[in-house]
């Protein structure tokens, strides 16, 4: 049964909700631990049932192939990490603690189906499943006004963008008569195809997706939502939701737009312009941020721009585009986990929000500040860390695709990002704290240490020896051939 992992995941989510009813208050972290154990089991289930298979399901509505397998493994791993990371935060700060874990599981389910879908309605439904779980998770700090504000903003922007996507889809359907990617591609690729309704429809669909990705000029929700959400949820948004959205966009581009060469050649240019705008604005505004979460939000907008420039070169005659994008996503995920988990450890039981409140951290908590520093150096693209190798790989693939100038702008953007990451590092290592022992009350428990140490080790390991991962990802490049 090809969709076994999804059924198991849905069952696991329901099990977790049931467990929440049984497990008493004060021990709700066991709900999370059940979820983690279940997810680890799910990794094995997925590997054993789905690896190496390339088969459409349900009349071509879903496609179970190596691409979806790789991304499903990534999503489940990100889920495990998020739950481990959240444990302390949830215990100290949130009400209705058990449901938090169930929502994370349902979000993973949404991501899994999204990356497998081969037609727009399935994609839309799974995207909505993912989004609704995220809307609730963002507003989970019930008594924090910022969290409520973030949730309202996210819901309004999110449903608005979903509505635009649906509107575009309906326009395309009216012309094509089907919502399958392949059918739409067939109609679009007839030469000289210029039907204005279909063009408008594709545009609206892309706008809807661009909202989810946080591409300029549809990015304005990201800083407020990332800032207001509880920090483990911010991490989940920045890592899991972003990877899912890009995996979805890649599927849409490959399935719908690449076969239509004239259409794709114009959309390439649009994507390139949007990518430049995103990189410039994301990194530029991050410079002036004083709050950690907002700085990370704009930084993640900048990284979205880099990823979008990777998508620009789809369809060029080289085969490494998809794997360089996949490698970038994995490396970005690993590094972001290091940064976010360490910052979560620092901020979960106090209200440190500003960058300058991190002053003196290196004296009191050297391992935590070293983790943040390593993660930030890696995000800036400095070597021995995975951030350098992923950037080199992606920029090489963009240049080989004929867009050296775009790679040059991306490199300049990462130069700018180095500046504001250095400001954060300076705050931890150089600045003198206003009061002695300002961080004495930070305690970090073992689940968090596992996440932090593992992610730092992976950051260094993937940077020094990327070959096994790249070989795995190489197989998903077959999708483009």
């Amino acid at each position: 049964m090809l969709l076994t992992p999804e059924f198991v995941l849905a069952g696991l989510a329901l099990l977790v909700f049931t467990a929440d009813l049984i497990i008493p208050e004060g021990k709700k972290e066991w709900v999370g631990r059940i979820a983690v154990v279940g997810l680890i089991g799910l990794l094995f289930v997925t590997a054993s049932t789905v690896m190496g298979i390339n088969q459409p399901v349900y009349n071509n509505f879903l496609l179970v192939d190596h691409y979806s397998f790789v991304f499903k493994m990534i999503f489940i791993t990100v889920g495990i990490i998020t739950i481990l990371m959240s444990e302390e935060f949830v215990k100290t700060n949130l009400t209705s603690q058990g449901e938090y874990y169930g929502l994370v599981l349902l979000a993973i389910l949404g991501m899994n189906i999204l990356v497998q879908s081969q037609e727009f309605l399935t994609a839309y439904i799974s995207l909505e499943l993912l989004s609704f779980c995220l809307y609730v998770l963002v507003g989970y700090s019930k008594f924090n006004p910022k969290s409520n504000e973030a949730a309202i903003k996210y819901i309004i922007f999110g449903t608005f963008s979903s509505a635009i996507l649906l509107y575009g889809l309906s326009m395309v359907y009216s012309v094509v008569g089907s919502t399958l990617y392949s059918d739409i591609a067939q109609v679009l690729s007839t030469s000289g195809f210029m039907d204005p309704v279909a063009m408008l429809g594709i545009t609206f669909i892309m706008i809807g997706i661009a909202f989810k990705l946080g591409i300029v000029p549809f990015h304005s929700w990201i800083p407020d939502v990332y800032e207001g959400a509880p920090i483990p949820v911010t991490a989940y948004l920045a890592i899991g939701a972003k990877i899912a959205a890009f995996a979805f966009l890649a599927r849409v581009v490959i399935g719908v737009m690449l076969p239509a060469e004239e259409l794709w050649s114009s959309w390439k240019i649009i994507f390139a312009i949007l990518a430049i705008a995103t990189m410039v604005i994301g990194n530029g505004i991050a410079i002036v941020q004083t709050k950690v979460k907002r700085m990370l939000a704009y930084s993640s907008i900048g990284h979205s721009g880099v990823l979008l420039s990777g998508i620009v070169v789809f369809g060029s005659t080289n085969g490494i585009v998809l794997e360089s994008l996949g490698y970038y996503l994995v490396g970005y995920a690993v590094t972001s986990v290091a940064v976010f988990s360490a910052i979560t450890a620092v901020t979960y039981n106090n209200n440190i929000e500003l960058i300058k409140d991190f002053a003196g951290l290196s004296d009191e908590k050297p391992l935590l500040s070293a983790s943040i520093a390593i993660g930030l150096f890696s995000l800036a693209g400095l070597p021995l860390f995975v951030g350098f190798t992923i950037k080199f790989y992606l920029f090489s693939s963009i240049s080989i695709g004929g867009y050296l100038w775009l790679a040059g702008i991306a490199v300049l953007a990462s130069l700018v990002s180095l500046y504001y990451y250095l400001i954060m590092i300076k705050s931890m290592y150089v600045d003198v704290p206003e009061q002695e022992r300002a961080h004495a009350d930070i305690t970090v428990r073992w689940p968090m240490w596992i996440v932090i140490i593992l992610s730092i080790l992976m950051t260094i390991a993937l940077g020094i020896y990327p070959d096994p991962l790249v070989n795995q990802l190489n197989e998903i490049s077959d999708l483009l051939k």
């Binding site: 490494i320 021995l384 300076k426």
Partner: protein, 511 residues
């Protein structure tokens, strides 16, 4: 004499890898072992740098100047899917002397950093990463790892300067160490952006040709076969020239250098001014000229002009400084100008003079930073109006400062003379005017060095400074060693010139 048997070859290959791996692994080790005292870290770092010094001497001495070319090292595939990257090491005639330079300066930097008390472990983590990265740059035989190690050498700079450095407070002139650190870091990474673009452009050309590679030797063969058009070479060489030039302190992108080196702690200044600035010139020579000779020929006049501006501008700026360390900083900018005009001559005399100047100036400036650091540590000021007549209180430091100063202005018998003489000979073949200005630069150097010595070293001593202690034993060992090297190379330049000339002749075959 190279020994021919397999085992010896493998031994040297392993040594080439060990000289990079040892500092990096020690640095990683320091990160994970808890509760290490500063003194322990200093001891371990000094031992490790002693070992790398030994290996660098071994590699330098074993480099067979009869055969030339690339010796030692090995190549393993690193990433084979998609992008073809191999990890390769190799020693050329030029990099042999550079590896030796780094070995010497790293040892000196570790030994004299006994005054690092706070967070000593972090300091040595970063310092050893810096040292290991520089070894990697000089030993890499492919562009990807060249660039990786180059960025690795830049990575620790912000923390090294901002945490353990010193700010300058002169009433009207204030430069905090954070300012110097941020400026250095941002300018160097911006320069590396240009280098990155150039490297990727070269790779794309080879990919389009069907032979994707980053390896120097293969790129050289491809370039000789005419793969890179002259238009392509022109713009890519310009990227390299400016990118590597910024690292060498090319005017007008040199401003990071005085601020950064002054703010840095002594050991870091030694490594940076002594070795890292040479990395830029090394890049221009070993990569720019070899892979892109047509581009080099196009842009060399510009490099020559900018280089001579370096010489004169740096010397004049040094004349007006009142901070002792700033004088050394601007003097470095000026002397790197000699390296750049030597590289710009594109003839074998000029190029070998440039490489010899890289080595000579590296030792000389490291020596000066040791001495200036020692003075600052004791007197707690670098103001040359305050520091007077130090020779009475710190004779050892001052005598060696005089020797370093004479090497700086090119006194015969010290290595600076040979290097500058070769550069002048090379330049005069290209342009009489530039050579005249270069000699003028040497005269200007004499002005500010001698004025500095007259005021700071000799003369009546300020009573506040009378009871300062002289150099401690590590500073003594390091400074005497460095000065002896300057004298040795000055008296017997063949020590270095043999291998340098071999390296240069293999480059000249491209032009």
């Amino acid at each position: 004499m190279a020994v021919d048997c397999e085992a010896m070859n493998d031994f040297y290959n392993i040594m080439a890898f060990a000289i990079i791996a040892l500092p990096l692994i020690t640095s990683l080790g320091f990160m994970v072992v808890p509760n290490l005292a500063s003194r322990t870290c200093w001891l371990i770092s000094s031992i490790v740098s002693l070992v790398t010094f030994g290996i660098s001497v071994l590699l330098f001495v074993s480099y067979d100047t009869m055969i030339g070319g690339t010796q030692f090292g090995f190549t393993v595939p690193w990433m084979s899917q998609g992008i073809n990257i191999t990890f390769g090491l190799g020693l050329t005639g030029i990099s042999a002397s550079m590896v030796l330079l780094n070995g010497i300066v790293l040892l000196g930097a570790c030994l004299i950093s006994t005054d690092i008390e706070t967070r000593g472990r972090d300091f040595y983590v970063l310092l050893l990463a810096l040292g290991g990265g520089v070894f990697g740059v000089f030993l890499s035989s492919d562009l990807f790892f060249f660039f990786l190690f180059y960025e690795l050498a830049v990575l620790p700079m912000y923390l090294l300067i901002a945490v353990w450095g010193s700010s300058t407070n002169f009433g009207s002139f204030n430069r905090s160490k954070e300012y110097g650190a941020m400026k250095l870091m941002m300018v160097l990474v911006a320069a590396s952006v240009l280098i990155w673009i150039g490297i990727i452009a070269i790779y794309v050309e080879t990919y389009m040709n069907g032979t994707p590679t980053f390896v120097f030797d293969e790129l050289r063969i491809l370039s000789e076969s005419g793969l890179f058009s002259s238009g392509f070479q022109n713009w890519v060489f310009l990227c390299f020239m400016i990118g590597f030039g910024v690292l060498s302190g090319l005017w007008p992108f040199h401003t990071w250098s005085p601020d950064g080196h002054v703010a840095a702690p002594t050991g870091v200044s030694m490594l940076h001014a002594g070795v890292l600035m040479k990395l830029g010139a090394f890049g221009i020579i070993q990569i720019g000229i070899v892979i892109l000779p047509l581009g080099a020929q196009t842009w060399m006049p510009l490099l020559m002009v900018l280089g001579i501006v370096n010489v004169i501008y740096g010397a004049v700026s040094a004349m007006s400084q009142t901070d002792l360390k700033y004088i050394i900083g601007y003097s470095s900018v000026s002397h790197m100008g000699y390296v750049l005009i030597g590289a710009a001559t594109l003839n074998s005399i000029g190029l070998s003079g440039a490489v010899l100047q890289m080595f000579s100036h590296g030792i000389m400036t490291a020596l000066m930073f040791v001495l200036v650091g020692a003075i600052y540590h004791r007197a707690h000021t670098r103001d040359i109006y305050v520091l007077n007549g130090l020779i009475k209180t710190m004779p050892h430091i001052c005598v060696l400062f005089i020797i370093a100063g004479f090497a700086s202005l090119g006194l015969p018998g010290l290595s600076g003379f040979i290097a500058e003489f070769l550069i002048f000979l090379g330049v005069i073949k290209i342009s009489l005017w530039i050579a005249a200005l270069a000699v003028l630069g040497a005269a200007l150097t004499a002005v500010y060095i001698l004025r500095l010595i007259a005021r700071t070293i000799v003369g009546p001593v300020d009573p506040k400074l009378e009871n300062l202690p002289d150099a401690n034993k590590y500073e003594k060992i390091v400074s005497v060693a460095f000065a002896s090297i300057l004298i040795a190379v000055g008296v017997w330049p063949a020590l270095l010139l043999d291998s340098i000339n071999v390296g240069i002749s293999s480059i000249m075959s491209v032009l």
